[in-house]
Symmetry: C2
């Protein structure tokens, strides 16, 4: 095994490890492997280069790159004279982590909040306008209380995301250069 091969293997191991773990961001291992590949290439890549490197279809590369773009993990770059689209990996993992929450989680919680408010509205209406048996009333009030607690939680979650998005978090959990220079 020659040296170039060893270097290649060390990379391969790390890429594999990154890809296996990217399910935390809700993407498949293949997409993870693509990100890993882009991460180690210091130049931007075209879809054809990715296809070649990963031995996969161009269609897959296209959709995967789109997914990674939506996650803010990859961006399209322009280069004069090059017709093909070029993509490169973003390398600021702190930012990627924070963006993931701000984008993905916020979207999801917003949908939940909507559903809950609608349900709460309907229950409140019943409570105010209908003649109810005592057991029904308690049932409803118990549900409304649950909804309220969930709303408070989502409110907290959003403020947490604000906290992360502003760089305030780095005052309390600071970046350190323990390993890198």
């Amino acid at each position: 095994m020659d040296r170039t091969e060893i270097i290649e293997n060390t990379r391969e191991r790390v890429i594999e490890s990154i890809s296996q773990n990217m399910y935390l961001y809700g993407v498949s291992p293949s997409i993870g492997r693509l990100y890993g590949t882009l991460y180690f290439k210091d130049k931007p890549m075209t879809l054809d280069e990715m296809k070649e490197e990963l031995k996969m279809s161009k269609t897959s590369m296209s959709t995967s790159v789109r997914t990674l773009t939506e996650l803010n993990m990859v961006e399209k770059v322009w280069k004069k004279g090059v017709r093909k689209d070029l993509y490169e990996a973003k390398t600021d993992w702190y930012q990627i982590f924070i963006d993931f929450f701000s984008n993905q989680w916020r979207k999801v919680t917003a949908m939940n909040v909507k559903a809950i408010k609608q349900s709460r509205k309907e229950l409140t209406y019943m409570l105010e306008n209908e003649v109810l048996a005592e057991s029904e009333k308690q049932q409803i009030q118990s549900d409304i209380e649950k909804y309220n607690q969930i709303l408070d939680y989502y409110d907290w979650l959003n403020r947490l995301f604000d906290f992360l998005e502003s760089d305030e978090i780095f005052h309390h959990v600071e970046k350190r250069n323990k390993w890198s220079e």
Copy 2:
């Protein structure tokens, strides 16, 4: 449509919304629906009751409950005289959120760190013990620098999890009772 049905529908909407969004925790919609169902039942449930309620197999209920238990979203409870296992939903979503990171994310980052340290070790060895062309040397040093940056990031991430796990986070992003009493 009578009142009981309306109440049921409002719950159903919220459960559906919860279940659709639980992919953020890496679980399937069915598992989300199970959690939602348990969440609204104020009593613990047996596997047979879940099976009945969701019209699914007992095997699925068993594995789903296990998954939810690993996520700290459900816990087994004991009740004198009842032979069947009883499970109930945990309701402290703040804690669930934090536990998710402390457990799942930490596990994953630990694996990544291991792979990276191994790779870095091999590269460092080459650098110190082999005669290398200048281009190879630069290649290796560039990779090592990448590994170091990743390690610093993971170090930060773990300290962030510490920050969440200690209740320090609640001093900066406090719980509020805006909706609930």
